[in-house]
């Protein structure tokens, strides 16, 4: 199956241990025309990506959105593992939490998360994903045209959550 790059839907991997929230995030993402795979743990997310084995993996994931509080591997642990992986460190990661804890939020953003959403996640939050995906796609296309050894990431302005809304 051959598709032009601009027509391919972005594929988002959603990670959340709660069934209700998985259903919700899946619906939010599908409504925004993303292809979605939802898993219930960080371990399963890594398996899906193929990080736990050295086999060649065909799956292409354009963004990972993960809950923070999960048993076993937290969303933060998952974020670190992704960013430490040579194959996947450039996949944008977004973290979410129902708890409004500034130190937690800042830590995730400082350690590589593109955004931090407070739950319940809204359509307006999901709309914020597209720029991160488009930028990545543009980068990838540029890199395919030139041959580069390294992907040079542009400076990213990170939103600092110094003043948080109380919901």
């Amino acid at each position: 199956m051959v598709m032009a790059a601009s027509e391919t839907k972005f594929h988002v991997l959603a990670v959340d241990d709660t069934l209700i929230d998985r259903k919700l995030i899946e619906k939010l993402l599908k409504t925004s025309s993303y292809q979605v795979t939802a898993v219930d743990s960080g371990t399963k997310a890594l398996e899906f990506l193929g990080l736990n084995n050295n086999d060649h993996h065909d799956v292409e994931v354009n963004l990972i959105i993960t809950d923070y509080c999960m048993p076993g591997m937290t969303g933060y642990d998952l974020l670190r593992k992704i960013k430490e992986s040579s194959s996947f460190k450039d996949i944008p990661v977004v973290t979410m939490s129902s708890d409004n804890i500034p130190s937690r939020i800042n830590r995730c953003l400082e350690d590589g998360a593109e955004e931090f959403f407070l739950k319940p996640v809204q359509l307006s939050d999901v709309n914020k994903l597209r720029p991160h995906l488009m930028k990545r796609r543009t980068q990838t296309n540029v890199n395919k045209r030139k041959s580069m050894d390294e992907i040079v990431s542009p400076d990213r302005a990170r939103a600092r959550y110094n003043e948080l809304e109380v919901k």
Binding site: T18, S98, L123
Partner: protein
Amino acid sequence: MELVQIQRRLVDYTKSLFMEGFLDAQFLQLQQLQDDSNPDFVFEVVSLFFEDSEKLLNELTIALDQPNVDFKKIDSHVHQLKGSSSSIGAQRVKNACIAFRNYCDVQNIEGCLTCLQQVKQECYLVKNKFETLFRLEQQIMASGGSVPTIELGF
């Protein structure tokens, strides 16, 4: 009863649920996400919540009945209940969970027991409200009508 009257009743009933704090804007978000490809989305998510909450409330009852109360476990369950109630817009349940967690933080058993009762009560109340809501929607659809959407003007 005529279709228009049932639709009117549904609108008024839903508005009252917002006024009384049973539901918040998140519920509207759920309704907005429901579409033809997933016409039972709200019903499914709300049903999931009640299955989930029943289990959690049972676990909490058992956990608070132990000789040595495991507050970490209790906090974890309440956190989950708070999260899922918040996800469906069940505001009063969510607020009751927040209060519960505060007592859990200071390891106040009496406070926790009171809060548990509170949360149970709020779940029971909002469950009845949802049942009425869904029943009205079904009546409308059975009469061939469409379910009116609510705009929050306040």
